[in-house]
Every structure is written in structure tokens, then in C-alpha cells.
Amino acid sequence: MGLEFIEGNEAIARGAMKANCNFFAGYPITPSSSVLQYMQGMLPHSGGIAIQAEDEIASMGFCIGAAMAGSKVLTATSGPGISLYSENIGLAIAGETPMVIVNVQRQGPATGSATKGAEGDIQFTRWCTSGGLPVIVLSPATVEEAYELTYRAFNLSEQYRVPVFLLTNKEIGVTRESVDLEAIALPSLVERTRVAADEEYLPHYFEAPSDVPAFSDFGGEHIARFTTSTHDKAAYLTSSPAVIQEMIDHYAAKVDAAADELALVKEDFQDGADILIISYGITSRSATVAVHAARAQGVKVSALSLQTLYPVPRTAMTSSMHGMKKIIVPEMNMGQYILEVERLAPADAELIGVNKMDTTLISPAEILERGGLQ
């Protein structure tokens, strides 16, 4: 056993290194800046590049270029930086670019409170670029999960050729916790499928819409093409509505069709409970304490905490909400993921959002009180 005392941002950098990340570009912003510094401390020594770009737009541009040249790339920012990443996130989706984007959330809107935590970017992350196509969003609750989910985010980005978001929070990013990273069981490493030199190559080749096209590096054995404009499987511009729809269906299907496979959730169900708390991120830890406290008072309550926010883990959410009379959704925002819960909740269930955006954590007591669990 090797215990360490590290912050979430370091765990993210370590998870990325474990996943063989070899390129990082980012721009300093509290509370994510230390991810850049950790990567600069580790990457060059292993032959990689970690660069501080001139702004967030360039950070994403460097990352997309490097990813298309075959690198495994990470970038990290906070909410205001995601605003500037937006146009290039769309480009990464259009080009089927594998990359991992970390958002260490802080209190918004605008500059907000740079050093204070929040969960205000949930729907923003889902709808962060024009076109509205689906993205994968993972959200850790602890420093150990920040490590594990960063590693998994790399695997998913390689497997599905999509940008994958790690949506964390100042409260995890710069809080140190006692951890044992070596004891965390990780899945095997996934690398993007590459087209062999003697095989035919089309930049966006698929048969079924949900197929993930095999990759060829810029500078590799095939002449690669990449375009921001509406294109066909060959990455040539097209104005054919049929071809355009086929490509859009493909972008959507490869994420949506994998929703169950992508669903990482933690269930803590109690027999006979008709109250459920659905939570994610740092707030799920308050929910855990609240659940224990409620049960100690004889209140039957179940809990579902989500590590995958998008695609919405519909199957897990629907089955856990089955027969529930009351569903409590605590969030450090004014009610964002509750919209996803609402879509899937039983018609007769009472939905209670426990919301706060004053920069402090939602306490277990607040969940108990406002959720009517006392």
C-alpha cells in the first residue's frame, strides 16, 4: 500500500500519465492551473510536450493538431475557459478527434469567484458548442475518482474518437486527500484503432452509423484529411442533404448507442425505500452522509450517484427511479441535472431540487432538511 496526500488536479495529471498522455496544452486559470504545472513537471521527461498556450483558443487548437498527428492529448481549464474552447470543441466533434478536456468548475457566471467551487457548468458542458451533438461527460466525486476517471476518459476518447469531458470542481481539484492510487483497479488501456498501411483509408469510414472510424495519423501512412466544414466519409465537402444527415446520425449514434456501456454509476439501494437521492460530483459525498443519517433515524432512502453525466445513464436512472415517490437532486447550481432526472422520473414522483450557489458545499444537513428526510 502506498498512501499519498495529493489534490485532485495532481490526480488528474497522474491519471493522464497512466493513460500514456503525451501532449498537453493549456492556459492558466484558477482553479485548474496546477494541472498544467503538474503536466509540465512530468511530460517532457517522458518525451512528451506540455505547453502553455497564448489563450484557451490556442490551447484547444494545439491539442486538436497534436491529437490528429497521433498524440494522446489533455487540456484543462475552468468554466470561463470552456467558453473560449467552445468553437474548437465543435471542431473536435466534427473531426472525430480523441482528446480529454478537464473543467475544474468554479463559481460563475463570468469571472465569478475564481477560488470557489461550483457545479454550474453541467448543461453548459452538454450543450457547449454549436450543433448540439452528444458528448461524453464524466464527473469524479473524490481525488481517487479524479485519477480513475481521467484514465477512463482517455480510453473512451480513443475508443469513440470523441472529446471526453472530465467535469470536476474546485472542491476536488485543489483539496488534498489521503489516497492510494496504486490500489485503484483500472481497465486495460485502449488505443484508437489505426488503419494498417496496406489497407484502404477513409477519414470517416463507417458502415453502421455507430461504427467508430479507424484512424490514420497526420504524417502517417495514409494521406489524412480533416475539415471543419460539412463533409462526407472522405472528409471532402458535401452539400448533399442525404450525406450530411448520414454523418450527423453517425456522430450522434456512436455516443448515444453506447449510453449503457458508458454508464458509470454507484448504487446504494435500500429495500423498501421509496425515496431516492440522485447526485454527482462532490455533492454526492454529502448525499452519502445524508443517506446514512436518514437511515440511522429509520428513514428508508436509496442513493444513486452518477460518474457518467452524459450520455445520460438512462437505463440505470430509470430502473433506480422505478416506484419512487420522492426523488431528491442536490446540486451546487440552480437546478441543472434535475432536468435530465425530470425527463425520466415516474409521473407521480415528487422531485425536490436542493440547490445552492453561494460557493459553499451543500451540507448533509441541508439535504436532510430541504429533502424532508428528518
Binding site: 510536450i49 505547453i51 497564448e54 497521433g70
Partner: protein, 446 residues
């Protein structure tokens, strides 16, 4: 030796799409001739473009083709080049792209990343209807300057030059030696740019009666030179980076791991706050204390609060220790509160007023405390730390608190200090630990 490649253009997807007489066609063909001279392997060349009419060109080459967002081509090119230094990366960009992506032009020149930038500069936005750009000459008529441009024209080479460009050239699409100059640029190991002025026959030419010879006339009018305007080679960024960081950077420090080896007397999640001033090493002391807790078989968390201007004001750290997994990481009701300076007190005054009777407050004796229900232990932290080292006040105070509370053995803190700190610092902090614990002994004896 491979056969000589006659052209790097392909008509696989049809002829070049430019308007009749458009300067972009001349420029694309000049680039083709430059590549013909250099004969690179097409698989080792990437043409990168962004939005603007010139952005239609990349896919007409037999090389890799990357077409990105408006004004951002330089950033993709930099990523490609940094990831694969063996590639020849050529950016074709319009004057519009140089406006919206101006910072990328300055910064690639400043960093000297080894890409080639060719600006197809035709003084207006051809793709969106002939609006003015950053290079539209004064009085130039465009869709958005119908009474004549009143903005100054940007000197792209001058801007790149000011930012440190290692090689820059200005000319027109009619220059007979343009393919040679493009080849010169591609040969540069560092960043090289060409600002090539030409005609937009759809919009700018009809509105402004621009003739071939007017291009040089405008240069003269603006006081701009043609030809090679910068030629000062310096190390290419990626090469330099790998030389400095990959070879000279020490291996990441192997972190000291912690083994749970001491017992503890903590029965439930315990919250400890230490409030002091910037420069008192409060965060560092708290980190050593929390890790001492880990040596004593406890889980731990640490949160720091301090102003953005880190060398002034308060430094307040919260530590949680627990024999169980720590779920809720805020301290709503601290079990122990340690305040060592006026800055710490100012930041925590409101909190101290609300402390419960179950909290023990360890306070520097000279501080004027607000009324509180907490059990107060007043100690001479400042005077005691002064005898050891003023920067050890955090360890002095936390050692006193540890001795008094008995949360875990002092040996665990001693081990944390000796394991995690360099010898010289550890020696100071071990003396601080002793002084802090002894001070508590004295207080208890009273």
C-alpha cells in the same frame, strides 16, 4: 530514389475553385512550384488552412490537408509540428484570418515554431461578401467601408517581426521569384512567413480599380518594404523545448509514500482549522500535520484559503481527520481551532464567535479574541516560534494542539516531518515540535 514528382496538386476533386483572375490561384500554383523544387514526400507535408477563400486550397494538394476554424490555422499547425517535428507544416491563411487570429500570428513568431505561414492578402473578406479586413488600405472601398476605410492597415510582417519572427518576406503574387521565396521559407527551420499581396477580382478590384502595379504603389504609400524583411535564425521551439526540457529537466521527484503505522484516538470525523498569516508556512505545517494523521492510520483532507495576492493577508487551512472514509469535506463545526496571528483572527473572527462549547480554541496569547463559547487555551505561539524560527509557528501551534488533544502520538508528526521534509527544514520543524509540545506541558502544569 523516387521519381521526381511533377506537381503536388491534384484534380481528383476538380480544378481549383477560385474566381477568374483571383490571386489565390497564382499563389497556390507558386506553392506547388516551391514544393516541386523541394520534392518532399507528400506524406510528410501538411497544408493547413482556415476560413476564407484560400481555405479551399488544402484539399487540392496531394499532401495531408487540415482545414480548421476561422483564424486558428496557426494553432493546429503548431500542434501538428510539436507532435511530429519531422513534418513540413504549411499554413495558407487570408488577411481576415490574420485579424481574428492575430494573437496566434504574434505568438508563433515569438515562439519560433517551425511552420511556414503564407498569407494570401487581398485586403478584404472574399468569402463573406467583401467586408474590410485588418489589411484594407486607408480609403479602401469595401462592403463595410462604403465611404472609404478610416482604419489603419496592419503591417503583418512588421507585427510578426516585432514579435520576433525569424524569417519574414513581403511580396505580390506577381513576383516571378515567388516560388523560390516560398521554398526559402519552407527551408527555414524556425517560423517563416510570407505576406503576399494580390487581387480579389470579385470584390476588392471592381470597387477600387486596383491594377497590378498598384500593389507596390500601396506598399510605398504605406511606407512598407517588399522583400526579405527578417532573417535572423534562432532555435526552433520544438527542438529547443526537447533539448531543454526533455534532457535537462530532472526526473519527476519520487513522492515519499506514507505507511499507516501509529495508533490514534480519533473516534469520529474531526475538523481542525488553523488560521494565520501569509508567509507563516501555515499550509505547509497543516500538510505535515494531516500526513502525520495518515501515519497514525487516519484518512485526511486539507483545504487552503488565502488571498490571490499570496504574500499578504490571511492563510487559513482546514484539516479533516477520520478513521472512516471522509465524505463531507467542509467543517461546519470545528473540533479544534488554532489561531496564531491577527490576520488569521481577522479572517476567522465571525467563525470564532459561533464556535460551540465542544470546540477547543488555541489562540496566540496577544490576540484580542471575540466572545466565544469555545474552551479557550491561550498560548505564546509567537514568542515560542521566535526562539526556534518565526516560520515554524504553524508546527509550534499544531504540536501544542496535538499534545493537548492526544489525537495521535507526537511521534507520527515527527515521522511526517522527517520523512517528508528536507533535512535542514526538518531539523527546524522538529525543534518547533518539541517547543510546541513543551509549551503545552507548561500550560497544563499551570
Amino acid at each position: 530514389m523516387n521519381a521526381v514528382r511533377e506537381t503536388y496538386l491534384t484534380d481528383d476533386i476538380g480544378p481549383l475553385p477560385f474566381c477568374p483572375g483571383c490571386g489565390h490561384e497564382r499563389l497556390v500554383k507558386a506553392l506547388d512550384q516551391a514544393l516541386f523544387k523541394l520534392q518532399p514526400d507528400p506524406k510528410k507535408v501538411v497544408i493547413v488552412t482556415d476560413i476564407g477563400c484560400i481555405g479551399l486550397a488544402d484539399r487540392h494538394f496531394v499532401t495531408h490537408a487540415f482545414h480548421g476554424l476561422h483564424g486558428r490555422s496557426i494553432t493546429y499547425a503548431c500542434g501538428l509540428k510539436l507532435a511530429r517535428p519531422e513534418l513540413t507544416v504549411i499554413v495558407l491563411k487570408g488577411d481576415g484570418g490574420c485579424g481574428i487570429g492575430g494573437t496566434h500570428l504574434l505568438n508563433v513568431a515569438r515562439r519560433n515554431i517551425g511552420i511556414t505561414l503564407i498569407v494570401a492578402n487581398n485586403f478584404n473578406y472574399g468569402m463573406t461578401g467583401g467586408q474590410h479586413s485588418v489589411t484594407t488600405p486607408p480609403a479602401g472601398l469595401t462592403a463595410t467601408t462604403p465611404l472609404g476605410n478610416i482604419e489603419a492597415a496592419m503591417d503583418l510582417c512588421g507585427a510578426a517581426n516585432a514579435a520576433g519572427a525569424s524569417w519574414a518576406y513581403r511580396g505580390t503574387g506577381f513576383d516571378r521569384d515567388l516560388p523560390d521565396r516560398i521554398a526559402d521559407a519552407i527551408r527555414q527551420p524556425g517560423f517563416a512567413m510570407l505576406d503576399i499581396w494580390d487581387m480579389c477580382t470579385a470584390y476588392y478590384l471592381p470597387r477600387n480599380q486596383l491594377r497590378k502595379k498598384d500593389l507596390t504603389g500601396i506598399m510605398e504609400q504605406l511606407g512598407l518594404q517588399a522583400g526579405v524583411l527578417a532573417d535572423r535564425p534562432r532555435p526552433e521551439y520544438g527542438e529547443h523545448y526537447r533539448e531543454v526540457y526533455a534532457t535537462k529537466q530532472p526526473a519527476p521527484r519520487q513522492r515519499q509514500q506514507i505507511t499507516a503505522k501509529y495508533a490514534n484516538a480519533v473516534v469520529a470525523q474531526t475538523g481542525i482549522v488553523i488560521a494565520g498569516s501569509a508567509g507563516q508556512k501555515i499550509r505547509s505545517a497543516a500538510g505535515l500535520f494531516a500526513q502525520a494523521g495518515m501515519f497514525a492510520s487516519l484518512n485526511a483532507t486539507q483545504k487552503d484559503d488565502y488571498p490571490i495576492t499570496v504574500m499578504t493577508g490571511h492563510s487559513v487551512t482546514e484539516i479533516i481527520l477520520s478513521p472512516e472514509r471522509i465524505d463531507y469535506t467542509a467543517i461546519d463545526s470545528p473540533d479544534y481551532f488554532v489561531v496564531v496571528s491577527a490576520d488569521g483572527l481577522n479572517k476567522s473572527g465571525g467563525r470564532i464567535e459561533k464556535l460551540a462549547g465542544s470546540t477547543t480554541l488555541y489562540a496566540e496569547e496577544s490576540l484580542d479574541l471575540p466572545a466565544t463559547e469555545a474552551k479557550v487555551v491561550r498560548l505564546p505561539f509567537i514568542a515560542t516560534a521566535k526562539k526556534v524560527n518565526r516560520l515554524s509557528i504553524g508546527i509550534v501551534a499544531l504540536s501544542a494542539m496535538l499534545r493537548d488533544s492526544g489525537l495521535f502520538p507526537l511521534e507520527a508528526l515527527e515521522e511526517s516531518i522527517t520523512t517528508l521534509q528536507k533535512q535542514a527544514l526538518a531539523d527546524v520543524n522538529l525543534r518547533a515540535l518539541e517547543a510546541g509540545a513543551a509549551m503545552m506541558g507548561v500550560a497544563l502544569d499551570k
